[in-house]
Amino acid sequence: MSQQERREAAVRRLLDAGGPAPVPHDLHTDAVRRGAVLLRRRTVLRRLGWLLLLAAVLAFAVWAADAQPWTEPPSRTTPPLTRW
């Protein structure tokens, strides 16, 4: 055992002194309550995100159906041929 290992072992004993602390009763209850709040908030955020995505898709579909950007726009540069 080297000098350093012996010193580290001494510090380890010092840190272990007192052992595991007695856990207060309300710690578990508090943790569960706050964890549930976090979980609920995460669920709400996820739902909001999906809703936003759905709204965006719907808006795009409505716009596309109306504007039909895939059809060729009528030409405006050539004057219509009316007289031969």
Binding site: L15, D16, G18, A31, L38
Partner: protein, 168 residues
Amino acid sequence: MRERQAVQQARRAREFEAFVAGAAGRLLHAATLLTGERPGADPRARALLTGALATTYASWDRLRGEDPYDRTRTALVVRFARSAWRRPRAHEGPLARLSPQERLVLVLRLYEGVAEEQAAALLGLPVERVRALSARAVAAVLRPPRGPAPSPAQPPAAPTALGKAAPS
């Protein structure tokens, strides 16, 4: 759907309670070492641990084989590191004279037995720095610098007495 959710919730509550019953004592001891509070009068350590446990509870269904103890310890360390710059000095406990970073390294390496490389990754420091901090912290704990220092034979008792005198 609703029924499945209820079953999952009940399972989560059961597993989490068992986990807390097994792990909270050790984690709370680590937290009091970090914050430098006396066991029993440790509001800051309790708050840190409650927050860390809450994040573990929230991600319980998505752990996928990851160790909940490791995850809670990581959350605890991150929370402590984030709040430590506001209160740099501990008052009591065996690590009262160390800086928050030295306390973190010492608790992770020696109390929790985390490997040097992992501790370095967790703290965002180079491994050499962790090694140096650890050596310095060990030296500081074993050899109190000056004043009416406690003899190395009984260090846990004396810093408590010092800490009691300080706040008044």
